[in-house]
């Protein structure tokens, strides 16, 4: 590792590095930003004061969009110029180390697309749906405020610091800049968190596809479709990606339509799979997919899911404007105040902030901001567009998901999202259960909704089916036609597609991490081309998430109810590690003055995650504390009793085991983060004692020869600079 003391301010002597002179704001600029602020203020006011009347969902949309625009224009710019002091005179790793493989100068708009496709998946769609049990307001506020002051700040700053270190990974940076102890803790945390994330994502797919022959039919067909595209691109028409993707999308739509005819095709019975069979199928799939060559399955499905993702998001935004749905959800439900909601346990603080991770603050993004993206960025100032802008876009997806979950009938919402142990599994028993928690919805409403989407909907937990229903209803209103069932399965397909991509890519990345780490002591295992090593590492990774998935689907208390909090807390604990790194680095670079920028997010995140971890480990309320729950079921079992929803002594044992394992994991995650934070505190103290800065692993500055715009659209000045560059003979 080369440690060079950072030059004062970390600047080059290149003329472009001179801070832009402060210009007087133009009259037009002032007018535009005043208007945006007014729109935002009005929308937030409507949301804040409306109670018990009809509120249009568009107010949420406008409040979010206006806030994003202001944050991007002012706060992100402030972070770029003052806090990070981006320097366009300095060559990025892509320019210095270009090799055509991973280091590659990439157009900012293209990189934005790649980065967004990598960060946004099912997370921002699912978390807000579950959090809707608290009402629409807490989720909306957290998604918007969280992304502006925490999530986007994390993504942008991690991207910046990794870019200044040739694209080093989060784990490497923690080891080199904080210390070996913190580094080891971070590495273990990253691996363990990835396993939990994969298990929860797979669980969502299983819950959406169980007993749904239509869904199974269309999702299963995505595999041969992707294989076909892979072969097409490899041998028939190499490189014609758009052509292959076009064919793939048409086949996908045919697969969704075809699924509606499973009954007539005589496949309904054989494709009606239990959750257990789906787990086996997914585990086998995960293993095979992660050892196949990437061109055959992973890359083509990635094309499909990326284009589908962008297409659906654009479609949803348009449909919201056309349908202008009214919110059916309360602003704040009683469950938010009393913490006794059926979807997940716990009170508003801290559990709304845990349930919505992706879309507001997602630690997993730090792995993407520190892996590939920093090696492709063209100019330093573009970290604002890629890091901050990309995360704002994900937040917008989360807001859309929250709206979709808040416009459907709330009885239907709770019937879908409460565990089977509570609802009893039929519309009649579900209606009874709903009456018990103070929601009067006749069983006929549930039956009618189920008939419209041609699926059973009671206790279809995991968020994806609820979102699919919301999307189907919005699309139906917006575009007309009686296509609810088609849109529902279209949305399920859209979510399953990128969950499968995440499972596949995640298993592969987990395998690389395992091979890399074990390779330090057993050389051969680290060789990625050694087949037995590859198989063994894949089996370990698949086995690990497969185990959690299995316990999740068989858990009498409901897998989502039990595992989603663990997932959310783990994701945000990862964010705590990333924010700790960034805060430490600002201090080491002698910019302690600005450490509050990531520091505010870090403190908030630590308060939330540590409170949640504490409650999940030490709470004596059985629904909340994992160990309290294990104790309760253990005592009952020893007394020879059965506690609902368990119906057999084996299920009692299962609850005890699962809750104990989850409790230990929860405690272990929190401890790992505490280790990293303490290690960082030592480094910060040392830096402050050493006169306010310490040497860092920042790569030395090299002047850049590239001229390119910073933002999405080039300014007049940037256009002139580009033209001047063109005119110079090289």
């Amino acid at each position: 590792m080369s440690t060079t003391p950072s030059p004062p301010g970390g600047q080059t002597s290149h003329p472009a590095a001179a801070p832009p002179a402060r210009r007087r704001p133009s009259a037009r600029g002032v007018a535009v930003w005043t208007a945006v602020s007014l729109v935002g203020a009005v929308a937030w006011t409507v949301l804040a004061v409306s109670r018990g009347e009809e509120v249009s969902a568009l107010w949420i949309l406008f409040a979010a969009l206006a806030s994003y625009a202001i944050a991007y224009r002012f706060y992100a710019r402030f972070i770029a110029t003052r806090v990070l002091r981006v320097d366009d005179g300095r060559a990025t790793p892509a320019e210095r180390l270009e090799n055509g493989v991973d280091y590659e100068v990439t157009d900012r708009r293209v990189l934005f697309g790649h980065h967004f496709a990598a960060i946004a998946g099912a997370g921002p769609l699912v978390g807000p749906v579950l959090a809707a049990q608290m009402g629409y307001l807490p989720g909306t506020i957290w998604i918007v405020v969280g992304v502006i002051f925490a999530g986007a700040v994390q993504d942008m700053t991690v991207l910046f610091f990794s870019m200044r270190r040739d694209g080093k990974s989060l784990g490497q940076m923690v080891r080199e800049e904080i210390g070996p102890v913190g580094g080891a803790a971070a590495l273990v945390a990253v691996f363990a968190i990835m396993i939990i994330i994969l298990a929860v994502l797979a669980l969502i797919v299983v819950n959406a596809l169980a007993e749904s022959p239509w869904g199974v039919f269309s999702i299963a067909l995505t595999v041969p479709i992707a294989l076909f595209m892979g072969v097409y691109l490899r041998t028939i028409r190499p490189g014609r990606v758009l052509e292959a993707t076009g064919i793939g999308v048409v086949l996908l739509l045919a697969a969704i339509i075809g699924g509606g005819y499973v009954e007539q095709l005589g496949l309904a019975e054989s494709l009606t799979l239990s959750k257990e069979s789906l787990v086996v199928a997914l585990v086998v799939y995960g293993f095979v997919a992660s050892v196949l060559p990437v061109w055959l399955l992973l890359t083509p499905r990635d094309y499909l899911s990326t284009f589908m993702k962008v297409g659906v998001i654009v479609l949803l935004a348009a449909a919201l404007l056309l349908a202008r749905p009214v919110l059916a959800n309360d602003a704040i439900t009683t469950f938010a105040r009393e913490g006794n909601g059926p979807v997940f346990a716990g009170s508003l603080f801290p559990f709304v902030f845990i349930t919505i991770a992706c879309g507001a603050l997602s630690g997993f993004h730090a792995l993407i901001s520190s892996g590939t993206s920093p090696k492709m960025i063209q100019k330093e100032s573009q970290v604002r567009l890629i890091g901050y802008g990309g995360m704002l876009m994900e937040s917008f997806v989360a807001i859309s998901a929250l709206i979709a979950a808040s416009v459907i009938d709330q009885g239907v919402y709770f019937a879908m999202n409460s565990p089977a142990g509570a609802t009893g599994g039929t519309p009649e028993s579900a209606a009874e259960f709903l009456a018990g928690i103070g929601i009067s919805t006749p069983p006929e409403t549930i039956t009618a909704t189920a008939a419209a989407v041609e699926e059973d909907i009671v206790s279809r937990t995991g968020g994806a089916p609820t979102l699919a229903l919301g999307i189907a209803q919005i699309f139906n209103t917006a575009f007309g036609g009686a296509l609810t069932a088609f849109w529902y399965h279209f949305a399920i397909m859209f979510e399953a597609l990128f969950i499968l991509t995440a499972v596949d890519a995640g298993t592969r990345v987990g395998r690389f991490m395992l091979q890399d780490t074990v390779g330090n002591v057993w050389k051969r295992f680290g060789d990625l081309s050694w087949r037995p090593g590859t198989y063994l590492a894949s089996a370990v990774v698949v086995g690990a998430w497969g185990w959690f998935l299995w316990t999740g689907v068989t858990d009498p208390l409901g897998g989502v109810n039990q595992l989603f909090p663990l997932f959310g807390i783990a994701n945000q604990l990862l964010a705590a590690i990333a924010l700790t790194l960034v805060t430490t680095l600002l201090v080491k670079h002698g910019r302690a003055k600005w450490a509050w920028v990531p520091g505010v997010a870090l403190v908030w995140d630590l308060v939330v995650t540590m409170t949640a971890s504490w409650q999940k480990v030490f709470s004596d309320v059985p629904a909340l504390g994992y160990f309290a729950q294990a104790d309760r079921y253990r005592d009952a079992r020893d007394a020879g009793e059965l506690l609902a929803p368990a119906t057999t002594p084996e299920q009692m044992d299962q609850v005890v085991t699962n809750s104990t394992v989850n409790g230990f994991l929860q405690a272990a995650f929190a401890l790992l983060v505490v280790v990293v934070v303490l290690n960082a505190a030592v480094v910060v103290a040392r830096a402050l004692r050493a006169g306010g800065s310490l040497p860092t692993g920042e790569a030395p500055a090299v002047p850049s020869r590239i001229v390119a715009p910073s933002g999405l659209f080039p300014t007049a000045e940037e256009k002139r600079a580009a033209a001047a560059q063109e005119a110079v003979p090289r």
Partner: protein
């Protein structure tokens, strides 16, 4: 009227460029341009695309939730 048409055409070109660039189809064009600039003979597209995808096999990017 022709002004509108030009604008639509320009927008369509932009969308096409973006989709191709996002999908990595422009890599081949860039390669051809590089070859022309340096006076190399380009390899057939089949070989180029194969080498490119194989080089990317080890650089799988994790997908977030």
């Amino acid at each position: 009227m022709s002004g509108v048409l030009t604008r639509v055409r320009r927008a369509a070109r932009g969308v096409r460029w973006y989709a191709r660039a996002l999908a990595g189809e422009t890599a081949w064009d860039d390669y051809l341009a590089r070859c022309a600039a340096h006076g190399h003979d380009p390899v057939p597209r089949r070989e180029f695309e194969r080498a490119r995808t194989d080089a990317l096999a080890g650089a799988v990017r994790s997908r977030c939730c």
